[in-house]
């Protein structure tokens, strides 16, 4: 239905519903697997970077930075103080942990070779010989599946020394996180990869100069790498045409919450939020009330604002963001104060504690929301929330503090009457708790 884009075809998920789709045999036989690698290895690294630049691929981890440009920041021949060449590292950010976001897990379990192939091509493009895949620690099964995929790729000669007779060497190593949302932030991830606390680093120096283990490094998201083989195989034009003027390709959108068919959908970017809810089986248990369009940290939209397109620029214009593609749908049984408190508890728990604005601000906000829910809130609190947020956003080493203010500010601004009512009626007790939709789930897309 309404995939209203004549150029659209699934780039990453054409076969994820087929049996054995995660195996290397399937990938080679049915998806032209590792043909793009063969082609890329015949191209010069700069040509590969150029192809990706022209495709308008933007980082799928959340920030949406142009991928080809990020690759081109890598120094050509870095040397240390003694003039000896330094290694360059490529890092895959697979620390998916933002509430509402669950697309990378699908790639890991259903089409790991697409990501591996993309990573080897990227390694060639930035002339690196080693890549690290940083996986969130809770993914025991996923990490083992990925290790199996890597082993199979070695066995077939797509990894290791002199790949496909090209003279290019590439090694991939898995590294497991240990439960810290902040490690999805690229510099925190690098610290964690070095065996340290996952605390974000000040920038500059940027990872392209001083990254993993002090060496020039490039960090990309799982989905970003998984899009690369298609671009190389079919050419940048085809990929770019599927998207909008400033962002090419498709997006993996994870739809969750009150819809009939939650799951991961690969979609063109010229669909509105309303279209996507429709694709995910429509609303469940009530009318649409609010949507968080890009994972927990994206500001909320009211139902009447959901006619917006889901590409990076349209969502930015609507005062929110495309983020990591996690669309959280809430129906009108939801109490927005309670929903926001659920998110703030998460941020309170996950702040790394390095910057006081974030450490104290996130605790403060969570406590204020709790007080409002418990019946101790005042009208002044509602203005105070905005003040606290103003002192957090943009004032810290990383964007975590901004992420906390996303749900806090947007919910107070857009549903202020609900907050005022709660303050007046003495909290949740006076209003009634959110009625959870706890019946049997309808079969998810994946």
């Amino acid at each position: 239905m309404m995939y209203n884009n004549e150029h659209f075809e699934p780039v990453i998920t054409p076969n994820v519903d087929k049996p054995n789709c995660e195996t290397i045999e399937f990938y080679i036989q049915h998806e032209n697997g590792y043909k793009a690698l063969e082609k890329a290895l015949k191209m010069k690294p700069a040509e590969v970077v150029d192809e990706v630049k022209k495709s308008n691929l933007r980082g799928r981890g959340g920030a949406g930075f142009p991928t080809g440009m990020k690759w081109s920041f890598m120094p050509a021949n870095p040397v240390d103080a003694n003039g000896n060449p330094k290694p360059k590292y490529l890092v895959c950010n697979a620390d998916e942990g933002e509430p509402g976001t669950f697309k990378d897990r699908l790639i890991f379990t259903k089409t790991p070779h697409r990501m591996i192939e993309g990573m080897i091509i990227a390694g060639h493009a930035i002339s690196s010989n080693k890549g690290f895949i940083y996986i969130r620690g809770e993914w025991f099964k996923e990490a083992r599946l990925m290790q199996k995929a890597i082993d199979d790729a070695y066995a077939k000669g797509f990894l290791g020394k002199n790949i496909l007779g090209s003279g290019f060497n590439y090694d991939l190593v898995i590294y497991k996180g240990a439960g810290a949302y902040i490690c999805g932030e690229e510099t925190a991830l690098l610290n964690s990869l070095e065996g340290k606390r996952g605390e974000p680093r000040l920038k500059p120096p940027f990872p392209a100069q001083v990254g993993a283990y002090g060496m020039p490094s490039c960090v990309n998201n799982v989905e970003t790498f998984a899009a690369v083989p298609y671009i190389i195989e079919k050419g940048w034009e085809k990929y770019a045409k599927m998207g909008t003027e400033r962002s090419g390709g498709t997006r993996m959108i994870g739809v969750s919450g009150h819809v009939n068919k939650p799951g991961v959908y690969e979609l063109p970017m010229n669909l509105s939020i309303n279209d996507i809810i429709e694709i995910a089986g429509g609303m469940k248990g009530g009318k649409l009330k609010a949507v968080i369009p890009g994972g927990a940290s994206a500001p909320m939209l009211r139902a009447d604002e959901c006619n917006v397109l889901t590409d990076y620029d349209s969502l930015a214009k609507a005062g929110t963001m495309a983020g990591s593609g996690g669309l959280i749908v809430m129906n009108d049984t939801v109490n927005i104060v309670e929903a926001t408190y659920t998110l703030l508890k998460f941020y309170e728990h996950e702040s790394c504690g390095q910057c006081s604005q974030c450490r104290e601000g996130s605790h403060w906000l969570a406590r204020m929301f709790k007080r409002i829910l418990d019946g101790g809130g005042t009208q002044d609190d509602l203005d105070y929330i905005a003040k606290i947020c103003g002192n957090m956003a943009g004032q810290t080493i990383c964007a975590f503090a901004d992420a906390v203010t996303g749900p806090a500010l947007s919910s107070v601004r857009k549903f202020r009457e609900e907050f005022e009512e709660m303050v007046m009626k003495g909290g949740l007790k006076g209003i009634g708790r959110t009625e959870s939709v706890s019946h049997k789930m309808v079969g998810a897309h994946v």
Partner: protein, 175 residues
């Protein structure tokens, strides 16, 4: 005392993959956690000795990440996700259901040391919410009925001496 030979072998086997000794700290902590169920002060001292790191470094890292438990845990670690997508689909009810079933609050361990119940923040399984982890295994699309069934199964497996919730675990292999 000292780390087991198995852990040392595993870590020595991956040593060549990383440019620094400290990079091995997270993997070693994972192995200790897997073998002993938690990371004690003594284990941290042993890890420091093994990796040539001061105890303070080991401790600051071990206490930063939520997966490393600094106190003994139940044999079956039940972690129910209560963040937004799971919450929208009734995770609160699941927590109280599990709490009633096990006779403990979230954050506690049963007196017989068999079960620990906790609430966790996002398992990246929002499309199949509500979700939980039992040791290393995910359980998704939960209902109160399926939750009770899974807990009963875990209990009978445990009583029969089986390993619970480590379906895909291959011993001594990182990851």
């Amino acid at each position: 005392m000292a780390l087991s030979e198995k852990i040392k072998n595993t870590i020595n086997g991956i040593r060549h993959q990383f440019p620094t000794e400290q990079a091995l700290l997270l993997p070693t902590l994972h192995e200790v956690q897997n073998e002993k169920g938690w990371v004690s002060m003594d284990s941290m001292r042993d890890i420091g000795e093994f990796l040539n790191l001061p105890l303070s470094k080991v401790r600051e890292v071990a206490s930063f990440y939520t997966m490393y438990k600094l106190e003994p845990q139940g044999k079956v670690d039940v972690q129910i996700c209560t963040n937004i997508s799971c919450w929208l689909n009734g995770a609160d009810k699941l927590v109280s259901c599990a709490s009633k079933k096990l006779g403990i609050h979230a954050g506690e361990t049963t007196a017989d040391g068999k079960f620990t119940l906790s609430q966790v923040e996002c398992l990246a399984a929002c499309g199949t919410a509500p979700a939980m982890m039992i040791n290393e295994d995910y359980h998704e699309n939960l209902t109160e009925e399926s939750l009770i069934k899974i807990l009963d199964q875990a209990k009978s497996d445990l009583d029969a001496g089986k390993v619970v919730g480590k379906d895909t675990r291959k011993d001594g292999v990182w990851p």
